[in-house]
Amino acid sequence: MTEAFYITAADLAERGFENTPDELMSHRHMIYSSPATLDFNSPGAKGFGVKRAGLAIPGSVMLLVAPGCCGRNTALLNELGYNERFFYLLLDDTDIVTGRHLTKIPKACKEVCESLDYTPTAVMICITCVDALLGTDMERVCRKCEDETGVETVPAYMYALTREKRLPPMAGVRKSVYSLLKPQKRISNECNILGYFSHVHDDSELYDLLHSAGIKKVRELARCSTIEEYHELSRANFNLVINAEARYAAQDMEKRLGIPFIELTRMYRLDKIRNQYRLLGQALGAEFDDEKYYDSAKAVVEKFIAEHGNISAAVGECVNADSFELALALTEYGIKVSEIYGTVGERNFVFIKKLAQISPDTRIFSNLSPTMLNYERKTDIDVAIGVDAGYYHPDLPCAQFNTEEQPFGYEGVERLMEELDEALKKEEKK
C-alpha cells in the first residue's frame, strides 16, 4: 500500500509548477474528502459554502432547486439559525433530464413569498450541477419569478463542476450577493472591503489606517444588518479586495456601479505587510503611519520566538491564510515547518520557491490525495496549525486559526502568535 504522497519544497521548486506531480493536482486523481478537508472541499458543505453565502443579503431567503442530494447537508445550517430562510424545490429523475422543473420555479417562488409573514428583500435561487449541464438560462427564470412575485430574484450557482474554471462557485456567489446594488452618487470618503462573508476583526489596523487616510466610512457586507445598509455599499468611492475570490464581484461593481477597486493580499510576513500598506497609501494618495502596528506585531513575534522558538510546526490549509505564505512567514521567523498540507497553484508557487531556499526539506502533501488515507507522522512536529493539520495530529497542540471573522495585516500576525502560544501553553499544563 502506498504511503501518503509528499514532495519536499526543494524538489517541487526544482521541478517547477508545470511539472507538479499528479498527486498534487486534484483534477488528476480521485478526491479524498477527508474529515480534514470537508469544510472547503464541497461548495455546499461547512463554513460559508454557496448556500450560506448566498444569504448574505439581509432579509433574503433562498430557494434551492435541485435533487435532494444537493440540499441534504443544509440541515447543518439550521443549527446556525438559517432554517427559516431555506426552501427547497426538489427535482425528480424526469426533471433532471428534461428541465421541466424550470416552469415550476416561478410558482415555487410565489409559494415561498406567500408562506412568509414578511416580504423578503430578495429570493436567491440556488441551482446545481444539473442546471449547469442543462445549460439553464437562470437570469431569464429569475425575471419570470420577479414578474410573479414582485420580489428581486437572484441566481446563485452552486456548480461544483466548474470549480476550477474562471468563475468558480465561490467567486460566482460573491458576484450574486452584490448584484442587487444600484448605481448612486459615490461619496469620496467611503469605501468597502470585499473578500469574505464575515467581517475583518474589529481590531485590525486596516480600519485605523483607512481612517487616517481620510476614509470616514468603511463598509463590509457582513456588517450590514438591514437592506438599507446593504444598499449603502454602492456609495463607496472604491472597493478594497482582500481575497482574490472577490475580484470578479469587484470587476462587476466597477462595470455596473463605477466603483474602482484595489486588490490586497493577506500575508503574514511583516515586511511584506508593511510594503503592501505603503503601496496602498500611494494608491490613495496618503502616507500610512503603520510604525506602531509594525512594532507591536514584531514584539509579539519576538516574544513568541523567545519563548517557543525551537519548535516544529505542521501547517494546513483550513486556516485563515495561504498555507504556503504562512509557512514561509513562520520559517522566516525561526519556526521549523516540517509539513504543509495545501493546494499548489500558480499563484502560491512563488512562496514554495522561496521556502525551498530556506527550508528545503519541508514536506508538501495534498489533502485531497487518496494516499492521505494512509498518512502517518514521520517528521518531528510540536504544533499543528489549521483544522486539517489538527486532524492529522490529534495528539498535538493545535492552533486552528480558522475563525469566521477574518484576520488581516499586523493584527493577523499577532492573533496567530497568540493562538499558537495559547495552544502550546495549554499542552504544557497537561
Partner: protein, 343 residues
C-alpha cells in the same frame, strides 16, 4: 405544491444509502460527482466518517468530463487509486451528473474491472430518490457479484441486512447484534456494519437472514431464491432507554409512528394498540400492517398526520405540522435529521 419543502430539509438521498452499505466493506467507493455529493455524504450522511476510515472518494468530475463523457479518465483515476491502495473491489455510485448524461454503468463496470483487475460494482443512483432505494440496489449488486456458491449452513448463525446508520441511528452494530443474540443466535453479523466483504461472500452459510429495514427486502428475496436461505422481516432493535420510555408512554388515542417501516414495527410491538406507521421511505407489503401509509412529501405529511393524538418520530419533522396539537415522542431517524442515538 408537490416536492416543495418549507419546513423539512431534504431527506437522505439514494447515493448516501449506497455509500452507507459499501462503507465498511474494504473496497474503493467512488461517488461519480464533482465534489458536492461527496461532501454531503462524508460531511453529513456518514457518521462513521469521523470514527472509521474508508476509501470513499469523489470522482472530481469537471464540466468537460461530463459534457464529453470522458469515462476513460474516470477509470484511469480509479486505476491509480487502486494501484495506491490495493483494495479487494471497487464501486461506482451514481449522482445527478451521470444521470443527466446517461452514463452507461454496465460499460463503466467492465472498463473498471479490466483496468484495475478487481471486481467492480456500479450503483445507478441519481440523487433524486431516497436513501433506502440506494441501499436496496447496493445490497442486491453486492450479493449478485460476490455471493457465488451455497455453503453449508452453520447452525445458530444469523445475518442482518438493512442495518446502516441511516436506518438504525447507530454507528456500530453492537446493539443490533446483542438484540438478535438475545433471541438465541450464537453468531450474528450485520452485513456492512462492523463486518467486511467476507460476510457478503459467505452469506449462504447463515442459518437465518433478518431484514431490519425495507432496504434489505429485495436482497433477502434474492438470497431466498438463489440459495434457499431462511429470510425474515424483523423489527429494527431500538436502544434500551427508548424501549423503556416507550413502554412508559400512556395510551393517547390515535398514534402515528413516522420512521422506516421496521423501526416503526418495533415501536408498535412495544407500545401495543393500533398505532399506524407513516413513512417517507419504502412501504413493503411484507412488513407493513393494516393502515400503514406512505408519505409523498411535506404537503402529504401535513394532510395524513391530521387527527393523530400522539406522533412518534424524529422531532425535526414537527416543524412541518404546525397545526398538530397532540403529543410528540422524539425517536431520532438519522436519514431525516442526521441525529444518531448516541449524540
Amino acid at each position: 405544491m408537490k416536492k416543495f419543502l418549507r419546513y423539512i430539509s431534504p431527506l437522505a438521498p439514494d447515493d448516501s444509502g449506497a455509500c452507507s452499505v459499501l462503507y465498511e466493506l474494504g473496497g474503493i467507493t467512488v461517488i461519480c460527482d464533482a465534489g458536492g455529493c461527496a461532501g454531503n455524504v462524508c460531511g453529513f450522511d456518514e457518521p462513521r466518517w469521523f470514527t472509521k476510515k474508508s476509501a470513499l472518494f469523489s470522482a472530481g468530475l469537471r464540466d468537460m468530463d461530463a459534457i464529453l463523457g470522458r469515462d476513460d479518465r474516470l477509470v484511469a483515476k480509479l486505476a491509480l487509486a487502486q494501484q495506491q491502495l490495493e483494495r479487494d473491489f471497487t464501486a461506482i455510485v451514481g449522482t445527478p451528473v451521470p444521470a443527466v448524461i446517461a452514463t452507461d454503468y454496465k460499460a463503466l463496470e467492465r472498463m473498471a474491472e479490466k483496468k484495475t483487475g478487481v471486481p467492480c460494482i456500479t450503483v445507478a443512483t441519481d440523487g433524486t430518490k431516497l436513501y433506502d432505494k440506494g441501499e436496496e440496489e447496493a445490497y442486491l449488486k453486492l450479493f449478485k457479484k460476490f455471493a457465488e456458491e451455497k455453503l453449508p449452513t452453520e447452525k445458530g448463525t444469523a445475518a442482518v441486512i438493512g442495518a446502516t446508520p441511516l436506518d438504525t441511528g447507530y454507528i456500530t452494530a453492537e446493539r443490533i447484534v446483542s438484540a438478535i443474540k438475545a433471541e438465541g443466535y450464537e453468531e450474528v453479523k450485520c452485513i456492512g456494519f462492523d463486518s467486511g466483504l467476507d460476510e457478503v461472500k459467505r452469506i449462504s452459510r447463515f442459518e437465518k437472514i433478518f431484514m431490519i429495514s425495507p432496504a434489505g427486502i429485495r436482497a433477502g428475496k434474492y438470497l431466498e431464491e438463489k440459495f434457499s436461505l431462511d429470510v425474515e422481516v424483523h423489527g429494527c432493535p431500538l436502544p434500551e432507554e427508548y424501549i423503556e420510555k416507550l413502554k412508559a408512554l400512556e395510551p393517547k388515542g390515535r398514534t402515528l409512528i413516522v420512521h422506516q417501516q421496521m423501526a416503526a414495527n418495533a415501536v408498535r410491538d412495544i407500545i401495543g394498540g393500533d398505532a399506524v406507521c407513516g413513512t417517507f421511505f419504502m412501504l413493503d407489503s411484507k412488513a407493513a400492517r393494516e393502515g400503514d401509509f406512505h408519505i409523498a412529501d411535506e404537503e402529504d405529511f401535513a394532510e395524513k398526520a391530521k387527527g393523530f393524538d400522539l406522533i412518534i418520530g424524529d422531532i425535526s419533522l414537527k416543524r412541518a405540522l404546525p397545526e398538530h396539537k397532540g403529543d410528540w415522542f422524539d425517536l431520532p431517524h438519522f436519514a431525516v435529521s442526521g441525529r444518531t442515538f448516541t449524540k
